[in-house]
Amino acid sequence: MSFVMEATGLGKQYGRRWALRDCTLAIPAGRVVGLVGPNGAGKTTLLHLAVGLLTPTSGSIGVLGANPADGPVQLRRVGFVAQDTPVYARLTVAQHLRMGAWLNPSWDTEMADGRIEQLGLDLRQRAGMLSGGQRAQLALTLAVAKVPECLILDEPLASLDPLARREFLRSLMEIVAAQRISVVLTSHLIADLERVCDYLVVLVASRVQVAGEVSELLSSHHRLSGPRRDARSLPANQEVIEESHTDKQSTFLVRTSDPVHDPAWTVRPVTLDDLVIAYMSRQAAPERDYRPQLQVMS
């Protein structure tokens, strides 16, 4: 399997503070990958390391099998849109396109002009006067017109209204359909990610909590509720991700690849939103981990 992004023991330190520490992950190529996690998990730092804007303090990162800071050839292979989809406020749309063509040897003029026309953007408009949605679309156009092998987007949806978000994702998916490009994007909008991503990585405090095919994650996680019982009494093939109890009832979010047969349970499917929140809270409450208690018995 080839990887769009591969990190080993990756860390970035600012003064005494580690923005990312000992991060190890492998993200397969040819997918649309959602990278989610709480603020401060290190997502933006990871992406900046991946595009060569930062250099690692420790560990290593490879993007499309090469070092991110490997020079112009590597830069050409990766398209990046930073947070808040930055554009030059005083330049017009047409000037952005000219600049893109000037700076990128692989620039596809036809695609860039075609997209701008399809979006109905006025070439003479200054970018500072565009709406949030239009600005995001302009930034996306600049990133894809250089015809990269992978596209890295940091919170591209954050400042967009629902309609602009849908239009942006539609554009992005049309690009994926036409160009077979790998995409990695971060977002807090899980419902949107569920539409567009086929692979999900949950990152909490520099650690991958769960990663996998979205369809496989959905089919292997279930919410069980029934009479109160201890997590330790569940079968070994059911990994407890989240549990909550009242005096009479227990609810578990479990991961298992086998069907749940126990008739005492009411079994419900989980949404991607449930799943992400469960893995994010799991890290926040490590004292609830029951496994050490098992070891005490010997």
Binding site: M173, V176, A178, R195, D198, S215, L218, P263, T266, T271
Partner: protein, 130 residues
């Protein structure tokens, strides 16, 4: 041509929703052999979903022998699914109603009955899948 819908609150993977909708359309006779499914690009433009997801759904349908991809042309229905027999539907509606009445007479409430139904349903289809 059919148009796919997406239920984002169901917890059912997107590709499976597409597969199920083709099954339903075949059972209802909305799709017949020779009919074309929307291209990945068309579905992407309509639903703003990942094209890989559409292709995964179509691959599943092809593996079932229901559709065939013709390179450069699109994906076409090659086999129909038997339509549900209306007489059988009426018969099972009758016996289900009888069963529900007797469960109610035994003192079970709507929630109990739903829980039983759900467990039985799951057991039954888990057997089928195994």
């Amino acid at each position: 041509m059919i148009e796919f819908q997406l239920d984002t609150t169901s917890g059912v993977a997107t590709y499976l929703q597409l597969v199920q909708q083709v099954h339903q359309a075949l059972q209802l006779g909305l799709l017949e052999p020779g009919d074309q499914l929307p291209t990945a690009q068309q579905v992407v433009a309509q639903l703003a979903i990942n094209p890989n997801t559409v292709l995964k759904a179509y691959r599943d349908l092809e593996r079932e022998g229901l559709v065939r991809a013709r390179p450069g042309q699109g994906t076409f229905i090659v086999r129909s699914l038997p339509r549900t027999d209306p007489a059988a539907q009426t018969r099972f509606l009758g016996s289900m109603t009888d069963w529900l009445r007797s469960a109610r007479a035994a003192g079970l409430g709507p929630d109990d009955i739903e829980a039983i139904y759900r467990t039985a349903f799951r057991n039954c289809f888990a057997e089928g899948a195994a």
